[in-house]
Amino acid sequence: MSDKKNRHGITRRDFVTTGAAAGTLLATGVGFGEQSQAPPLDLAVAHGPDVAKNTAAVIDAHGGIGAFVRAGQVVNILPNAQGSHPGTSTDPVLVRTVVDLCKKAGAKEVRWLTWQSGKYFERSNIDQLVKGSGAKFIQVDSNDETQWDNFDIPNGVALEKIRVFKILEECDVFINMPIFKDHIGSRFTGSLKNYMGASHPTDNRLFHPSFEGEDLLRMEQCIADLNTVVRKPDLIVADAMTILTSKGPFGPGDIAKPQKVIAGIDRVALDSYGATLLGLEGKDVKMITDAHKLGLGEIDLNKLRIQEMEVS
């Protein structure tokens, strides 16, 4: 196997795979940018110091941005912008890289959705970096009911209804862009919980137990329930470059630097992998097991086809 580097500085012999499909991937000798008859990847994981290269690499591993975005399409993105504390917000360079790739693929419009105050984005420096990319910032008004869909949740265990901003559905491609980190309520936050950035903030507060006898872990089931009705992601690109491992989601707290970017489309699989970066397993996080039980994705990493790569 050649160790010649491609344009992202990835060496084919650096490929490492985990999970049940690892043998298949190695046996077929499939490398970066090659066509194969192997089943599609579940997760692509790039490790290296450069977040932009990692981001490009994981998208390429899934067939390139063209596998997700075509010319003339409208793309919605949902980053996590928490604030200025280290390890709490999706890396601005990751966001910018995805936006640039979408534009390069010919996207008619890339829209960054939020109901949050613009101050979040100022604090996280995401806006500074993304403004120049041509992405359109759309701030949904939480007081304007016409901007919200009220979903019934027929399979909900804890939730019966939830409001989600309408514009989430009004696109050709939806890219979820969480950061993996600690959370005081659920121990972990990632792809599943990032959808609370699209559900109504007033409804979100009801996720928390409000009276003495109510289930303390209610929030985790509510997040799983929410995920049964929101638009599925066409792609998830998750940030695990610098992450908060305690006192999350706001911090400040302990920091780890896995220097990874992970991409896939299975929310449960992404989060199950992400939990390992905080010393947990998917089964340790009720939100992830609840979502798995609701049929939202695969929790067992051994059943996934995961491609890990070193990016220099």
Binding site: S117, I184, G185, L216, S246
Partner: protein
């Protein structure tokens, strides 16, 4: 409008001295305040913190002021949370569990890029937003300046005295009055023991987590132990009684918790967590 509301609320914070200097300071050494001081009162905290604001409310949040300081490309944020009573509780919850003690206000803890300290009803959180060479010294310099303009005169809760001293991990004490904090300091035990009035927890050098919970009276504490037995059974766990009935052991979700009652207190020891 918000600033006015904040001032009014501050006057209601009882039992503490009024700060003499303007807070936060405009300039600290060569660090300059950037932008206006932001103030968030009551439920406006949800505007400032998206996810995690609930814990501040659980501890009696009144208001927070936020100021950013810059020096070239380096930046440090200062958040001052004012609570409706002494801020030791939220301080003990928020501080780093691996930091070291610093003498600021009524007590402080410094970690690699941030610093918490409390002073009367105020909790100050000083955070370096980027990495730079003299980061630790800069965070401490700004913390020291902020300490001079906070309220003063706090006292640690008496319940901390009920935690065993032998083997206690220094700086691991957490005081709490709500279930979310309890969930975070002793996750397996929290669902079994609702209804307490206040609690204190600390790590033990053996790896155990020791928790003391206080109820209104002895009868309420005894009832809480019975309720814990019922909740543990209902969740599929097991309860083992000692011969004299003074201690119960709860097995729940791979954890073992011993519980013993005395007067209106219940002491828990979270004994182990299976892999």
């Amino acid at each position: 409008m918000r600033a006015c509301s904040a001032a009014c609320v501050l006057l209601l914070v009882a039992g503490c001295s009024t700060p003499e200097n303007s807070c936060p300071p405009q300039d600290i050494g060569i660090w300059s305040a950037e932008g206006e001081t932001e103030v968030y009162v009551g439920d406006d905290l949800f505007v400032y913190i998206n996810g995690g604001a609930e814990i501040y409310h659980e501890y009696g949040f009144v208001q927070v002021t936020v100021q950013r300081y810059v020096r070239g490309n380096d930046s440090i944020s200062v958040e001052t949370y004012t609570m409706d009573g002494d801020a030791f509780g939220i301080y003990s919850f928020a501080r780093s569990s691996s930091g070291h003690a610093v003498k600021l206000g009524d007590g402080g803890t410094s970690a690699d890029y941030y610093l918490h300290f409390w002073s009367g009803p105020d909790l100050a959180v000083i955070t370096a937003e980027s990495e730079f060479e003299d980061l630790g010294a800069a965070v401490l310099e700004i913390g020291t300046a902020v300490a001079g303009c906070l309220h003063a005169g706090g006292a640690e809760p008496d319940l901390l005295d009920q935690l065993p001293i032998d083997g206690r991990v220094p700086g691991s004490e957490v005081y709490f009055t709500g279930r979310l904090a309890f969930l975070n300091v002793a996750r397996p035990a929290a669902p079994l023991f609702p209804g307490f009035e206040e609690g204190a927890a600390a790590g033990h050098e053996s790896g155990q987590q020791v928790v003391v919970l206080r109820w209104g009276d002895e009868a309420a504490a005894e009832e809480a132990l019975q309720e814990a037995r019922r909740l543990c059974d209902a969740s599929g766990g097991g309860v083992i009684e000692t011969e004299d009935g003074g201690v119960a052991e709860f097995e729940t979700g791979g954890h073992r918790i011993s519980a013993s009652g005395s007067d209106n207190l219940i002491t828990l020891r979270v004994l182990r967590e299976e892999p």
